[in-house]
C-alpha cells in the first residue's frame, strides 16, 4: 500500500474552538456556583500564551520530529496499513509511550526542563491544560516513539493519535468534576487522578503519569488515589515567581546551564545535572521527591504505608 500521501485531520487545531468554549463555560460555572475551582486573570492568560507558543513551536519545529519519523518509515519493512483496529492499537500503544515520556519528564531533569512549565501554575483549571511546552523538540523524546514507526504504524497515524491523546487530557484539568463512575475511574485517567499528578503535597509527588489510561500507573506502581483528607495543593514544590511566558518557558533550561557553569563541577557532574531527577545537587545538598517524602514521614509517622508513602 502506498502510504506516502497518508493524511489525517489536524485534530488539535480543530479542537481549539471547543477549548475556548469550554474555558468560558468552566469559569462561568465557577463564578455562578462559587465552587469547582479557581481562576486568576494573569495566571490563565499566561497558560493561554504558553498554549499559543506551543502551537507556534510545533509549526516551526514540527518538521524535525516528522522528518525523523519519515526517515524511520523509509527504513522499516513493516507496514500495518490503515485499518481502524490498527488506529485503535496505535492509540493504546502511543498512550503507553506517553506514560513513559511523561515519567521521564518528571525524573530526568533535561526532560523536566521542558515539562516544568505545565506544572508552574498554582491553579488547576482548563487553562492549565493548555500551559504546554515550547521546547519539547529539544528533549529528543521523539525517540521513544521510534518503535511504533519501526513496528509499521505510519507517522501520520502516530501524530493523529497523539493529537487525540492531547485532546483527551484537556477535560481532566478541572476541579469542577469530582469523581467519575467507579468503572471509569478504574480504567481511565480522570480529573481526580490528574489532580493528584498536579499536587505538590509530598504524598502526590511523582504519581499518576497516565495520559488516557490510568492502568499504566497501576501496572508500573505509580498510582496514588486522591484522598479527601489531603486535598491537592497545586504548583511546583517551590513555585516560580513570574507570569512572564518567556521566563516560564525557559527558566529550568537556564538553571541547568547555570549549574553547568558553577566553578568546581566536573563533566560527570554536568552530565548528572542533566539526567538525574530535579533537585539533585553535585555536592549532596539537594534532594528530590524521595527526600521530601521521607522528611514528611519523619514529621508524620502515622502516614507511613498510606497511599503515596508505601515505599518510604
Amino acid at each position: 500500500m502506498d502510504l506516502s500521501q497518508l493524511t489525517y485531520p489536524d485534530v488539535v487545531s480543530l479542537a481549539v474552538p471547543f477549548f475556548v468554549a469550554a474555558v468560558l463555560i468552566e469559569m462561568t460555572w465557577i463564578f455562578i456556583a462559587r465552587r469547582g475551582g479557581r481562576y486568576e486573570t494573569r495566571d490563565a492568560m499566561t497558560s493561554l500564551a504558553m498554549g499559543v507558543g506551543n502551537v507556534a513551536s510545533g509549526i516551526l519545529l514540527g518538521f524535525v520530529t516528522f522528518g525523523f519519523f519519515m526517515w524511520l518509515w523509509a527504513l522499516t519493512p513493516l507496514d500495518l496499513g490503515t485499518s481502524w483496529w490498527v488506529v485503535g492499537l496505535c492509540f493504546v500503544l502511543d498512550d503507553l509511550r506517553y506514560y513513559w515520556v511523561h515519567r521521564f519528564g518528571h525524573r530526568v531533569r533535561w526532560v523536566w526542563a521542558s515539562h516544568v512549565n505545565h506544572h508552574s501554575s498554582q491553579h488547576y483549571n482548563l487553562t492549565t491544560a493548555l500551559r504546554q511546552t515550547w521546547t519539547g523538540t529539544f528533549t529528543f523524546m521523539m525517540i521513544v516513539r521510534a518503535p511504533l514507526v519501526l513496528l509499521g504504524f505510519h507517522p501520520a497515524m502516530i501524530l493523529f493519535v497523539g493529537g487525540l491523546n492531547l485532546i483527551y487530557q484537556f477535560w481532566i484539568h478541572t476541579e469542577a468534576i469530582g469523581k467519575m463512575p467507579r468503572w471509569f475511574e478504574a480504567v481511565m485517567n480522570t480529573p481526580s487522578h490528574h489532580r493528584v499528578h498536579h499536587g505538590r503535597n509530598p504524598r502526590y509527588l511523582d504519581a499518576n503519569y497516565a495520559g488516557v489510561f490510568i492502568i499504566w500507573d497501576k501496572l508500573f506502581g505509580t498510582f496514588v488515589p486522591e484522598l479527601e483528607e489531603d486535598r491537592p495543593d497545586y504548583g511546583l514544590v517551590h513555585n516560580i515567581g513570574t507570569f512572564n511566558p518567556l521566563r516560564v518557558a525557559f527558566h529550568e533550561w537556564i538553571a541547568i546551564f547555570r549549574d553547568w557553569a558553577q566553578p568546581g563541577v566536573t563533566w560527570r557532574d554536568r552530565f548528572l545535572y542533566a539526567v538525574m531527577p530535579p533537585g539533585w545537587r553535585h555536592d549532596g545538598t539537594g534532594g528530590g521527591s524521595e527526600r521530601l517524602k521521607a522528611e514528611y514521614i519523619k514529621s508524620n509517622p502515622e502516614q507511613r504505608g498510606t497511599p503515596g508513602f508505601e515505599k518510604v
Partner: protein
C-alpha cells in the same frame, strides 16, 4: 484548518476569556495577614519553619526569617512566591522597593510598602 482562521479563533477566544475574567473579578489579588503568610511560606518551603514573619501594611509582601536566612514573600495574583534573600540590590521607588534577585524566573521583585516601612525593610534586607 487554514492558519488565518486558527489565528482569528485564537485572538477572539483570548479576548473573550480575558473580558470574562475581568467581568467576574478574577484579578482580585490575595491580601496577606501573618497567618496566611506563614502558611504560604511553609507550603512553598517544605521543612522550613518561620521564626519571624513581618507583613507589609499593604498586605502584598512579607519578610520571613527561617532557617537562619531572610526570605521575601510576595503576592502573585491569588497566590504567592517566595525567595531567599542573598544580598540583593535594593532600589527605592515611589511605592516601596525593588529587589534584584539572582534568579532568571524572578529577577526583580517589586515590594509595595507604606512610606514609613521602606527604611525599616531596607535595613532588614541589608543585614540579611
Amino acid at each position: 484548518m487554514p492558519l488565518w482562521l486558527l489565528g482569528a479563533i485564537v485572538v477572539v477566544g483570548l479576548i473573550a476569556i480575558w473580558v470574562a475574567m475581568r467581568a467576574f473579578g478574577y484579578d482580585e489579588p490575595l491580601t496577606l495577614d501573618e497567618d496566611t503568610a506563614r502558611q504560604e511560606f511553609v507550603a512553598d518551603n517544605p521543612g522550613l519553619d518561620p521564626d519571624e514573619v513581618r507583613v507589609s501594611a499593604t498586605g502584598q509582601n512579607a519578610l520571613v526569617r527561617a532557617g537562619g536566612k531572610l526570605h521575601v514573600l510576595w503576592v502573585m495574583g491569588q497566590d504567592v512566591a517566595t525567595h531567599v534573600l542573598d544580598a540583593p540590590q535594593i532600589i527605592p521607588t515611589n511605592s516601596g522597593l525593588v529587589l534584584t534577585l539572582r534568579d532568571f524566573a524572578a529577577p526583580r521583585v517589586k515590594l509595595e510598602l507604606a512610606p514609613e516601612e521602606a527604611p525599616t525593610w531596607t535595613a532588614l534586607i541589608e543585614k540579611s
